[in-house]
C-alpha cells in the first residue's frame, strides 16, 4: 500500500527525518511513536505530499507522490495535528466542500456524507459553525474530512491530542473501525493508545526508526529473562535466605516496602522459564504468605524510555 524508501528531510544542518524506509501493508494499522520533535509529523507531511523530502521516495499504491501528486493524493485522507477546518463554515457546508475538492460525484455525495457523519458521530452538530464547536468535535469533523471519498489510506497525526478521556475512547473505537476497511497510519506520543489500536508500532527518535514490531513482541523482546514481582508478608532477610534453596530463581532484588509488614521483590529466572510455581513452593515451605504476584512485562512506556534514551536503541 505504502512504500517509503530512504526518506530524508533536512532543514539546514538539522535532519528532521534521517534516511527512513518502511512499508505498510493493506489493512494494517501502523502507529508512529516518538517524543515530540522526533520527525513523526514531518514524515506524515511528506507522505501526504504537503512538503517534499530532501531525498527519498514515497509511493502510495505504486504511485509516486511527487511525480503524480494528483493521482496519489486520491488514495489519501489526511488528518493533520490541527484539524484543517474553516471556523466560518457550518459542518455540513465544510463536508460538502471537502467532498468537492476530493472530487466526489454528486450522486454519491449525500449518502457518503451521511454515512461518515454517523461514523464519527457528528450528526447533531451538522448545522453549527465549526468555530463554536469543542476541540473534540472539531477533531471529529477533521476526521470526517479525511474519510471523505473512503480513501484507501488514512493518515492521522496525533488524533487524540486535546480530547477528554471519554472522547479518547470514542476516537479509538472510530480508528479501530476504520482499520477494518482502510489502511491507517497514526502517530502519537501516548503509548497506551498505540498499543490499544495498532497492529504494528514504529518507534521514531531523532528522525530514525529505532524499533518496529507488534506491540506485544516489542515488550517481550525487551524483557530480559522472565521476571515476576511479588509482595511477601514477613522479614526480607528470611525471604532472601529462603530463595537460596531454589536454584531456578536466579536472582532476587528487593523492591522496597509499600505495605506495612510486607516487602516487595523482583525475582527472575532463566529466559523462557516459568518460575511462578517455584516461587509458590519456596514461600509456602518457609510460611511466607504471598500477597501479590505479577509477571513483569515491560510496559510500552518503559520500552519507549529504554529505546529513546539509549542512543540508537538496540531492539530492531
Amino acid at each position: 500500500m505504502v512504500e517509503v524508501k530512504n526518506l530524508t528531510k533536512r532543514y539546514g544542518a538539522h535532519f528532521a527525518v534521517d534516511d527512513i524506509s518502511f512499508t505498510v501493508d493493506d489493512g494494517e494499522i501502523l502507529g508512529f511513536l516518538g517524543p515530540n520533535g522526533a520527525g513523526k509529523t514531518t514524515t506524515m507531511n511528506i507522505m501526504t505530499g504537503y512538503i517534499a523530502a530532501t531525498s527519498g521516495d514515497v509511493a502510495i499504491k505504486g504511485v509516486d507522490i511527487l511525480a503524480e501528486p494528483e493521482k496519489a493524493k486520491r488514495h489519501i485522507g489526511y488528518l493533520p495535528e490541527n484539524p484543517p477546518v474553516y471556523g466560518d463554515m457550518r459542518v455540513d457546508e465544510y463536508l460538502n466542500f471537502a467532498a468537492d475538492i476530493k472530487k466526489i460525484r454528486s450522486a454519491d455525495r449525500k449518502a457518503m456524507i451521511a454515512n461518515i457523519k454517523e461514523g464519527v458521530r457528528i450528526e447533531d452538530v451538522s448545522r453549527r459553525l465549526i468555530k463554536n464547536l469543542s476541540k473534540g468535535y472539531r477533531q471529529r469533523v477533521g476526521l470526517a474530512q479525511a474519510m471523505m471519498g473512503y480513501p484507501d489510506l488514512i493518515i492521522m497525526d496525533e488524533p487524540t491530542v486535546g480530547l477528554d478521556p471519554k472522547q479518547i475512547i470514542e476516537m479509538r473505537d472510530v480508528i479501530k473501525k476504520l482499520g477494518k476497511k482502510h489502511t491507517v497510519i497514526l502517530s502519537s506520543h501516548i503509548l497506551s493508545e498505540v498499543s490499544a489500536v495498532c497492529d504494528r508500532v514504529m518507534i521514531i527518535n531523532k528522525g530514525k526508526i529505532v524499533a518496529s514490531d507488534t506491540p506485544g513482541r516489542l515488550s517481550s523482546s525487551l524483557t530480559q529473562g522472565s521476571q515476576i514481582q511479588v509482595r511477601i508478608k514477613g522479614d526480607p532477610k528470611k525471604v532472601e535466605a529462603a530463595v537460596k534453596d531454589f536454584p531456578v530463581i536466579r536472582s532476587v532484588k528487593a523492591d522496597g516496602s509499600r505495605e506495612p509488614g510486607t516487602c516487595d521483590f523482583i525475582l527472575s529466572g532463566d529466559e523462557d522459564a516459568d518460575i511462578r510455581e517455584a516461587v509458590f513452593a519456596c514461600m509456602s515451605k518457609n510460611s511466607l504468605p504471598i500477597l501479590n504476584m505479577r509477571a513483569m512485562d515491560l510496559s510500552l512506556e518503559e520500552i519507549f524510555l529504554q529505546i529513546t534514551s539509549s542512543e540508537g536503541g538496540g531492539a530492531k
Binding site: N45, T48, G49, Y50, I51, A52, A53, T54, S55, L66, P69, E70, K71, K73, R74, I76, Y78, P80, E81, N82, P84, V85, Y86, G87, D88, M89, E93, F97, A98, D100, I101, K102, K103, Q145
Partner: protein
Amino acid sequence: MMTIAKKELRGYFNSMIGFVFLVIMLGITGISFALFNVAQQYGSFQQVLSSTTIVYLFLTPITTMRLFAEEARQKTDQMLFTSPLSIVQIVLGKYFAALGLILIGTAVTIMFPLMIARYGTMPTGQIVSGYIGYILLAACYTAIGTFISTLTDNQIISAIITFVVLFVLMIFDSLTQVIPTTATASFIFIIAVALAIGWIIYNGTKNVFAGAGVAAVCIIAALVCYLANNLLFDGLTTKVIQWFSIMTRNGNFFAGVFKISDVVYHITFAALFVYLTVNGLQKRRWK
C-alpha cells in the same frame, strides 16, 4: 478551480470582508459620481472611473491578504495541498475569487454611466475602454496581492506589503525624474536587470547553467552594444521604466486610447504574478 473560487467568495461574505469591500468601493465611486457628474454636471464618467482606481491601493490588499496567509495560519492549507486538486487549480480558484469580488462591485457601478446616458449620448467606446482598463488594473493588482499572500502567514503583513508594492508601482513613473540618464548609469541598470532575470530563471528551473547562461548572454550583448555605440544607452533607463510603467499604460484606457499592446501587457503582467504564485507554492514540494 470552481470549488475553491466558490469557497473563497462565500468566505468573503461570511466574514464581512466582502461587504466592507463593496461598501468602500461603491461608496467612493458613488461619491465621486455625485461630486463630478451630478453636482458639477461633468459628462465624462471614465474620468471618475480613472480617479477611483486609486481606491484599489487599499482595496486590493483587503481582498487578497487572506487568500493564502489565513490558510497557512489556520493550517487549513494542509487540507487543500493534500487533496487531489493541483496547485494551479487552487491558485487560479483563489485568484478569480478575489477578482470576482471586484467584478461584482464593478458590475454595480455600470448603473452610473447608464444614468448619465439618459441625459445625452453616451460615449460608449470610451466608457467600455475605461472599464476594460479598470478591470485589467484590478487583475494585475490582485495577482500581486495573491502572490504576496503566499509569502507570509500573517494577513496584516500580507496586506501592508501588498499596499507598499502597489504604492511603489503607482509612483514608478515619477522615478524617471530622479534617476541618472547617462549612458554608463543605464548600462549598469541593464546589467542589474540581466542578473535579476538570470536569478528568476534559476529560481524557476533550479538549473544553475540556464540562469547563469541567460544572464551572461544578456550582459555580453549589452556590453557589445555599449562598446559599439553608447549613444543607445542615453536615457535608456527612463525609457525602459516608462515602457514598463503600468500606470502610463493603464492611463491610456481612460484617455480613450485603446491599444491591444496595452491589453497584452496587462494580461502578461497578471499572468506573471499568478505564475510566480504557483511556482512559489510548488517549490515547497520540490526536492
